[in-house]
């Protein structure tokens, strides 16, 4: 499934952010976001992970991460 992993922004350099999810960091572009992002925000990444697609509220992100952790633990991932 085209599942999105909410990732927390840990650093921003221009239009590039370093994001973290499940203990792994990666870089992604903020160019497609329609609102300003800040360190600490959660974003979901589009397919391939090159672009952040949208900012999601923290409670929503945490709930999705808890579900995705369950998917990982269950061996569905």
């Amino acid at each position: 499934m085209c599942m999105a992993v909410p990732s927390r922004i840990v650093a921003i350099d221009g239009f590039t952010a370093t994001v973290e999810a499940f203990g792994q960091q990666r870089q992604t572009s903020l160019m497609l976001l329609t609102e300003d992002a800040a360190v600490g925000d959660y974003v979901v990444l589009g397919a391939g992970g090159n672009f952040a697609a949208e900012i999601v509220p923290e409670d929503q992100a945490q709930e999705a991460l808890a579900y995705l952790a369950q998917v990982l633990a269950d061996g569905q991932a």
């Binding site: 499934m1 999105a4 792994q24 497609l32 979901v44 589009g46 397919a47 999705a64 569905q76």
Partner: protein, 389 residues
């Protein structure tokens, strides 16, 4: 780390032709099983965050399944509002493809400002319909449509798309002559791509036997999902052995511009790309009309009973099906069948379009173009192994 889902397509060439195509998918087609035990509203609230590309379609399919299962029909006012949400996502997704992915196919940089303008315009529709944000509520959220804001958002998307294409999408598809002039002389990435794809060796590439998805899905869809305890059907669906093509070409093969491309070159690369353009244009027209049907709507009193339901939605990439079984007001079983499983099936339209293709120079590029035309919802790698080499 959380593994990233991908598709790996391998073409094996023997005696100058594509003898065999394998598709390896690491998509998590069974993850929805873990919705079991949750309340219906918890699932529909979770769906847009875990499915970023087609979150709206996922929610609407989930709502339709939940509402059918629980005997909670949405009020009449919800239908045009939900259709608008779905069309807005379709415009945003096709617009993203045209602004971000199409330029790379002709060696140009992506037009990210245009992509952002289209996304921002379409993102404004949801709060203009459901200002309290409860659109994922089974039975329907609180509707207070702001028709002026919605019309402005549609106009903004239309204008961003016109800048991107270098022409008004609806006008350029209105007659074959305008369309031909646009791609022959236009200098936008989309016009150059369509001009390139109009060459006979590319236009018909990927035209295998065309099996368009029936309008309400295969007749055996509900029964096959119900019987699918192991998840084999949601990973590799079929209907009496037939694997349908779903998405813009299947939906819009009647459209004059699409029909002309099919008539000239078959249901190949050109027809599939023209169908994407035609779809974005027809979505904007339909959105204009829907603005006049909007009305206020209050959420119903919750009345959840047990049962099972099937929700079908035509998402940007094709037919999306959700099936749910509710027991004691909670989800007992949840299944999702996504369009990519049809289009990238080992016997589906991508593979049928590649099998037997001549292995002349540029085969890998043509195969990648076909994958882009069928628009998978995850990253996709294409490699060619040549036994003749």
């Amino acid at each position: 780390m959380f593994p990233e889902a991908r598709l790996e397509i391998v073409l094996r060439v023997r005696a100058g032709r594509v003898a065999d195509v394998t598709v390896r998918s690491t998509r998590l087609v069974q993850a929805s099983r873990l919705f079991a035990g949750r309340r219906p509203d918890e699932v529909t609230a979770l769906l847009p965050t875990v499915f970023s590309l087609c979150g709206t379609a996922q929610v609407l399919a989930g709502l339709a399944a939940m509402e059918q299962a629980s005997g909670l029909p949405p009020s009449a006012a919800q239908t045009p509002a939900r259709t608008l949400l779905l069309l807005a996502e379709m415009v945003a997704e096709h617009g993203m493809g045209m602004a971000r992915d199409w330029p790379a196919l002709v060696g140009l940089d992506p037009d990210l400002p245009a992509a952002r303008r289209i996304r921002a315009a379409m993102a404004a529709i949801r709060p203009a319909l459901y200002p309290s944000g409860d659109w994922t509520r089974p039975g329907g959220g609180t509707l207070h449509p702001d028709a002026r804001a919605i019309s402005a958002a549609i106009a903004a998307a239309r204008s961003a798309l016109a800048d991107l294409l270098g022409a008004d999408a609806e006008a350029l598809l209105a007659d074959p002559h305008s369309f031909q002039l646009w791609h022959r002389y236009g200098d936008s990435a989309a016009a150059r791509l369509l001009e390139w794809l109009s060459h006979p060796e590319l236009a018909g590439f990927g035209r295998g036997p065309f099996l368009p998805m029936p309008e309400q899905g295969p007749a055996d869809l509900a029964a096959r999902l119900e019987a699918d305890r192991e998840g084999a059907y949601v990973a590799r669906p079929d209907s009496s052995g037939r694997v349908f093509e779903t998405g813009p070409l299947a939906r819009l093969s009647w459209h004059p511009a699409v029909a002309a491309a099919i008539g000239g070159h078959g249901p190949g690369l050109l027809a599939r790309m023209v169908a994407r353009l035609a779809e974005v244009a027809s979505c904007l027209q339909e959105m204009d009309e829907l603005v006049h049907s909007l009305d206020e709507g209050q959420p119903p009193a919750a009345c959840l009973v047990d049962g099972c339901g099937l929700g079908l939605v035509e998402a940007a990439r094709g037919l999306l099906a959700h099936r749910v079984e509710l027991e004691g007001g909670r989800v007992k079983r949840y299944q999702i069948l996504a369009p990519t499983e049809w289009n990238f099936h080992p016997d589906g339209p991508l593979v049928r379009g590649l099998r037997g293709a001549e292995a002349t120079d540029g085969l890998d590029e043509r195969a990648r173009l076909l994958a882009v035309a069928l628009d998978p919802c995850v990253a996709c790698d294409v490699t060619v192994e040549n036994a003749d080499a």
